[in-house]
């Protein structure tokens, strides 16, 4: 089945770059697990969480939200016309979460004890416990939701039928779990009001993280869709191509609405804690860059794009909003966290940490490319055309 690959197509600049990153990543992996965290990271006793939590975990989980957002839109809210977007979204979600857990292995001091909270001793007073439990369960849900594509590829009809029959309960369970762990990632920081800057610290942190994850999910589906269109046009069937522009308009509209709501919530957050005076400080300026530049303006751009049916604008705004989510997560976890520490004690990731994160993203993209090349993701399997 891999025989059809053309050698000239294999040695593209993109593939060569990916290969180099993967090799460097493999070396860093060896270093990490032989020399300890201090060998590759800039983490210290004041800054126990770095890029691998701020980017790999927080951004990874938020940007993998497309799975629950799309499947609930289609199966629960009855927006059947977006059906062709479900499979790519579920696949991105499944891969996203898998690689989040994979990345976590690098950050945990004793990764081999990852199941301990569930099998040895539970600490349910911890938001991290909720995150762990929900992510573990949701990864299972995503696997079953994704599996029909694999069963179709293998030609195992019976098991595909079973997995497919679970769609509705799994979708509902997936929304419950996503609500819980997306919000819990924000909840992690509730315990440290003395360390996170007041403009970012709020009792509403869980709510902020949950609502912005919806935006992240919608934007990722649109952003990834535009990339897939460019590079995997030949893998898409007519249904997918016809529905794609509908998906962009529909999701753009939803993103405009949710992002506006999120903007209002953030403003209420400042008002409730009466943090207005911080806006006049340097931190306030940076906060406004996030709030105006990465929340209000993208919301407006989405709305304009929808009104004028400007798909290109919506897709570009989606990439912009994705960047905004990354900015927000990095602000909460790294930039505005420990803001009172003297500059010399502040954290900045080492090149090896950045490289490891890049390695994991590249690994994820590579696996995604392999899967959409061989499995029925962007097109329907001919034998199962009308079975949903």
């Amino acid at each position: 089945m891999f025989a059809g690959i053309d050698k000239r197509k294999l040695y593209t600049p993109f593939n060569i770059a990916s290969g180099i990153i993967l090799i460097i990543g493999a070396v860093l992996t060896v270093l990490r697990f032989t020399g300890g965290l201090s060998m590759v990271t800039n983490l210290d006793d004041n800054n126990p969480w770095g890029l691998w939590i701020g980017f790999d975990l927080l951004c990874g989980v938020a940007l993998a939200a497309g799975g629950y957002v799309t499947s609930s839109a289609v199966y629960i809210f009855g927006m059947k016309k977006y059906h062709s977007a479900v499979r790519p979204a579920i696949l991105t979600g499944f891969l996203g979460y898998s690689f989040v857990v994979f990345a976590l292995m690098y950050d945990l001091g004793r990764p081999y004890r990852l199941p301990y909270p569930f099998v040895v001793q539970a600490g349910p007073t911890s938001f991290l416990f909720e995150v762990g439990l929900c992510v573990a369960l949701y990864l299972t849900v995503l696997f079953i939701e994704f599996s029909p594509a694999a069963w179709e590829f293998m030609g195992w009809k019976k098991i595909r039928k079973i997995a497919h029959s679970l769609t509705i309960p799994l979708t509902i369970f997936g929304v419950v779990l996503s609500t819980l762990h997306q919000s819990s990632l924000g909840g992690l920081y509730l315990i440290a009001p003395s360390k996170l800057h007041p403009l970012w610290y709020s009792a509403y942190l869980p709510l902020f993280f949950f609502v912005s994850s919806i935006v992240a999910g919608l934007s990722m589906v649109m952003f990834e869709g535009s990339l897939a269109h460019k590079y995997y046009h030949d893998k898409m069937d007519r249904t997918h191509l016809n529905e794609a522009s509908e998906v962009v308009l529909g999701f753009g509209k939803a993103a405009a609405l949710v992002l506006s709501g999120y903007f209002v919530m953030k403003v209420i957050g400042i008002a409730v804690d009466n943090n207005w005076h911080y806006l006049a400080t340097g931190w306030g300026a940076w906060f406004l860059v996030e709030l105006i530049g990465f929340v209000a303006l993208p919301a407006l751009a989405f709305a304009i794009g929808v009104r004028e049916k400007n798909r290109k604008l919506i897709q570009r705004t989606a990439a912009w909003a994705v960047l905004g989510i990354v900015v927000n997560r990095l602000n909460v976890s790294l930039i505005a966290f420990n803001w009172q520490l003297p500059a010399a004690d502040r954290y900045f990731p080492s090149w090896m940490e950045i490289m490891t994160s890049l390695f994991i993203v590249t690994l994820g993209v590579t696996v995604y490319r392999l899967i959409v090349t061989f499995l029925p993701i962007l097109h329907e399997h001919p034998e199962y055309k009308d079975s949903h």
Binding site: D45, I76, L108, I191, A192, S194
Partner: protein, 346 residues
Amino acid sequence: MLRRKFLGLLGTAGAGLAVGTPAHAAGNKHFEGYPEGNGVLFDATRCIGCRKCEAACQKVNELPVPEKPFDDLTVLETRRRTDDATFTVVNKYGKPDHPVFRKAQCNHCLEPACASACFVKAFEKSPTGAVVYDPTVCVGCRYCMIACPFEVPTYEYDDPITPRVRKCTMCQPRLLEGKLPGCVESCPKEALTFGRRADLIKIARKRIESRPDRYLDHIYGENEMGGTSWMYLSGVPFKTLGMKEHLGVTPAPQFTSGALAAVPAVVGLWPVLLTGVYAMNKRKVKIAEQEKREAVSAAVKKAEQEAADKLAAAMDKAEKDKTSSIEREVAKALKEAAEAQDKENS
């Protein structure tokens, strides 16, 4: 009798509910601390920065020997923090001619943030007053270090296989043997006082009352973060000693308990709501389909009726045409016959 028995059972059940389960770590109940819980009172006006406590700590905890010996006081010139090889450090603050010293170590909170944050319950507030850590369950997520408002827990970042969180244990093993913590025992100036926390607060009050010129009227740790077992007296503002003054009096677990309480609500409400939405949409689709079917059949019926009417009308017309043409023919024939007769007659 049956009724009475039933009521009795009901009463028992009610009492059971009223007694309920004890408050747990994330509950909203304020934990006053174990009544016999111990603590240490640090008096910054007495500390001379001799580092004897650091030396004792290293010895009793069998920690690695530092590069510079403990009697080398030049280390006080740079700000230090605890690390995986050092459970306590003394730092110098204030003006060069009037230095003030502060010893830093775990403050052994009454309701520790680390214990609340740990997802394997590796931290425990012991009845002795010490907050102790169990490395046999620790996964190494380091969330305790994020949670701790005093930046106390440290980590063995160099260890690739079995890294541990490291921090002061209030010399728990020694406490259980009836001995004093190493640092307290070694202090030559009685800057450290060990005892029941409740007694320490009384002692601290007495010192403040007897020497108001010497002390600020505040016991740091009496209420900070809901109270700590290690408390501080000082003659200079605590900020000068590098201590956070705006921590508030809320115990750390309470920052998360409210949000955690929303979990059952989400678990309970979401499935019901979403199933409802799903059912509504399914019904909508079903009704739409039904209406479509009805509309189609109505349209078909109407078309059929119209066709039938048309046919009937056409038939009717044809019939009429036929009759009229017959009549016409008959009239014509009659006329012709009449004309023929007229010709014959003429």
